[in-house]
Chain length 233, copies 2
């Protein structure tokens, strides 16, 4: 039966995709690749392309990078409609997601919209960026019975500051939103030896920052993740 399959393809290394994701890609008639600009490359596509066969059609869907909720919702509605037509015509549609669909993915905004059309959904989990960051440094994120805060950096960082006060283990998503704040918090809390920031983890552009002074470099890519562990990495 035709349906939509949300496919987590992992953090970047094409080997960090699951067998289930590969098999799902092969089952799809259409593979949707979300892009922030038409013509822009997609890491999710780069991971999946070796598993996409001649029987799969690739469909780029535009998801602009904006915080305007009204514009986003209009965009999600339009992309949902396009997918709905394909499914109703009998196609199985895969939707690629970098990392894992349950953490901050665009795909999850389409799910309730597709379900409202009565479309069957399957979701395939993937390896998250933060698990890949920790593995690449052989460090743990959660240990013993300690909680972990996973915090997207936004605004003036109030949520992050609160998490740093409370939790020994914090994952900072979107750290480039305010690198100056991170620099200041790390210095103030004397956590210079207790953090790692990795950009484009597990891809060919994998970059590691452990020197707090390097956070002043404005060229750190958007696709970055930081782990801060108060008790040491």
């Amino acid at each position: 039966m035709s349906k939509v399959i949300g496919i987590g393809v992992g953090p970047g290394d094409p080997e960090l995709i699951t067998v289930k994701a590969i098999n799902a890609i092969k089952r799809c008639d259409i593979v949707v690749v979300p892009v922030s600009k038409i013509g822009r490359s997609s890491i999710a596509f780069d991971i999946a392309k070796q598993y996409i066969g001649e029987s799969n059609t690739v469909l780029n869907q535009l998801f602009p990078m904006t915080h305007d909720k009204k514009e986003l919702e209009k965009n999600w509605d339009e992309n949902t409609l396009e997918i709905e037509k394909l499914v109703k015509s009998g196609k199985t549609v895969g939707f690629l997601t970098l990392g894992d669909p349950s953490f901050y993915s665009t795909y999850m905004y389409l799910v309730p919209r597709l379900q409202a059309f009565g479309i069957e959904i399957e979701t395939i989990p993937g390896v998250t960026s933060f698990s890949a960051v920790a593995a690449s440094e052989n460090i743990k994120i959660g240990e013993w019975e300690e909680p972990v805060g996973i915090v997207p950096l936004k605004g003036e960082g109030e949520t992050l500051i609160d998490a740093l006060d409370k939790f020994n283990n914090v994952v900072v998503m979107k750290p480039t939103h305010n690198l100056e704040l991170l620099y200041n918090e790390i210095k103030k809390r004397e956590l210079e030896d207790n953090f790692v920031l990795i950009s484009k983890c597990s891809t060919d552009s994998h970059t590691v920052i452990k020197d707090v002074e390097e956070l002043k470099d404005a060229k750190i890519p958007y696709l970055s993740t930081m782990i801060i562990k108060r008790t040491g990495l």
Copy 2:
């Protein structure tokens, strides 16, 4: 060169293992399977066994379920020594980890010990139980710019209660530690429609609980994960 490879094999479904983990298993001379009692079955082994070939030797290592830190450290030291001898004799040793090594894995306690012997370490991330739980229900854990708390339930649940106060999105690890507390918090906060508990996610024994009254059933397995989302699943 001989080394130790920590291998995240994912949450339970043998298809939710990564290509990198499969390739790593094939490269190992010895595959260590941690077990809590000799003779007890291991879900990590059940996932990996189809990828373990004739050239791999399986070594069960005992890791008793105890909270006695002295006993645990003695055990970690002993198991480290056994692995160290194998590596020094030229063997590449894989260490299987259910889920992802960076979240509450036994393997990570061995890493600094092995590194102290100068042993090279590689860690391969895996799909976590909580990502698998969310995917199986087609729900998101983190969305928009909201933080997520990942909280192992322990003691009287102070950390969990605090996380429920602060965070819209909470993953409860080890929920069977105190199901009565979870029942009471869910009722008090009127979150009856906002949680899911899944046991042995993605295995043949995958069980879903969404009715709060079922939390009173004492037979819920240890390998369970709960997601609570204050704004709805």
